[in-house]
């Protein structure tokens, strides 16, 4: 396989796979954030810091 094709396939797998993986991880982190900080008055600041 020539170098250019290898480069394209490497970037496809690492780039697309990496993007999917990181965004999935981020979705889990967001979900955890909403569990750790639920929308309750006791957790919410009503006025700015």
């Amino acid at each position: 396989m020539n170098e250019t094709a290898l480069f394209g396939i490497t970037l496809l797998i690492a780039g697309l796979g990496g993007t999917l993986l990181v965004l999935s991880l981020m979705a889990v982190v967001i979900y955890l954030l909403t569990i750790i900080f639920p929308s309750k008055k006791s957790h919410d600041r009503e006025t700015p810091l």
Partner: protein, 388 residues
Amino acid sequence: MMEGILAGLSSLGEGAQYLLTQGGPNLIMIGVAMIMFYLAIRKGVEPLLLLPIAFGCLLVNLPLSEVSHAGGILKTLYDFGISNELFPLLIFVGIGAMTDFSPLLASPRLLLFGAAGQAGIFLALLLALALGFSKSEAVSIAMIGACDGPTVIYVANLFAGRGQISTTMVGALAVAAYSYMALVPVIQPPLMRLLTTRREREIKMTSPKGKVSHTALMAFPVVVVILTGIVAPMGLPLMGMIMLGNFMKVSGVVQRLTGAAENEITNIATLFLGLAIGGTMIGPQFLTKGTLLIFALGLVAIVTDTIAGVLLGKLWCWLSGGKVNPLVGAAGISAYPIAARLVQSEGQRWNKHNFLLMHAMAANTGGQIGSAMAAAIMLSVLKGLGIL
């Protein structure tokens, strides 16, 4: 004395002489500038950016113009804020300050549409390589699939700064990226209708559950920045600036700074960026087969983004037993909020009682994060491969 006067007057005709003898490409680019004026003013196509780009293009193509030479205004603007990526990053602060991530936090799973909406990047990359573009050029062209002008300019300039691509190519990439962002309302609806059945388009989605706490909204940008810094540090400037703008907005304590980021800073950066980019569109260098290919590959990328998003939506619809409207997948691109509004209007076109806006906004903000993350990961992978 008469000879001196005639010699002085003859210099006034040099511009016309240049245009008539060797100014064909410049004349064509002046025509392109006029078309861009028309699109920006009469058709409302991205006027904030297209108008200064067109004016920069006009200035730089007038005969014997020195505005893009060393010390000229457009060259100075380019060196000041494009070659070091300053202007796109300042615009990112504004984008972050204008974006509301609460729909995404209410439905985090819709972030996956933001990944599907980047598929075009990778198809365009493979096609560009197959067409003979260099690795750096192919990556820069592929980024048009991020459907995000500042990201395209940021990535292209990283390569231009290292002499791996020409500055003229940066101009072509920027114009292609912004043109396709503006054409999203033309490109997406036919594809959405083509890929979905009427029954799928009519699916009503339930509202996202509950409200998002203010603490979670504040924690979100910080967590995203830390995550990006750990997994894809090369993209930290991109993600960092978006999240800085958003953090300022949700914190609620720096309203003056948020207002400045949303308005003055973004406006000034947009004007200077547009002029400087227009200044790279010099006829003889711009009018090449490469430029045409850039526009063709950009179109392929945006079409692929939409197709991938809608197909993921169809898969999701099937897996959920018909609870997800596949149209929402089309909003997984970075063009915010236009892609989300399109999904809402397309959904209502087929079912007047359908309100997809919140879901589409979640997918659309997911697309924003997805495009910055895809660029960050690509750059980090390229660094690992020794290209950057």
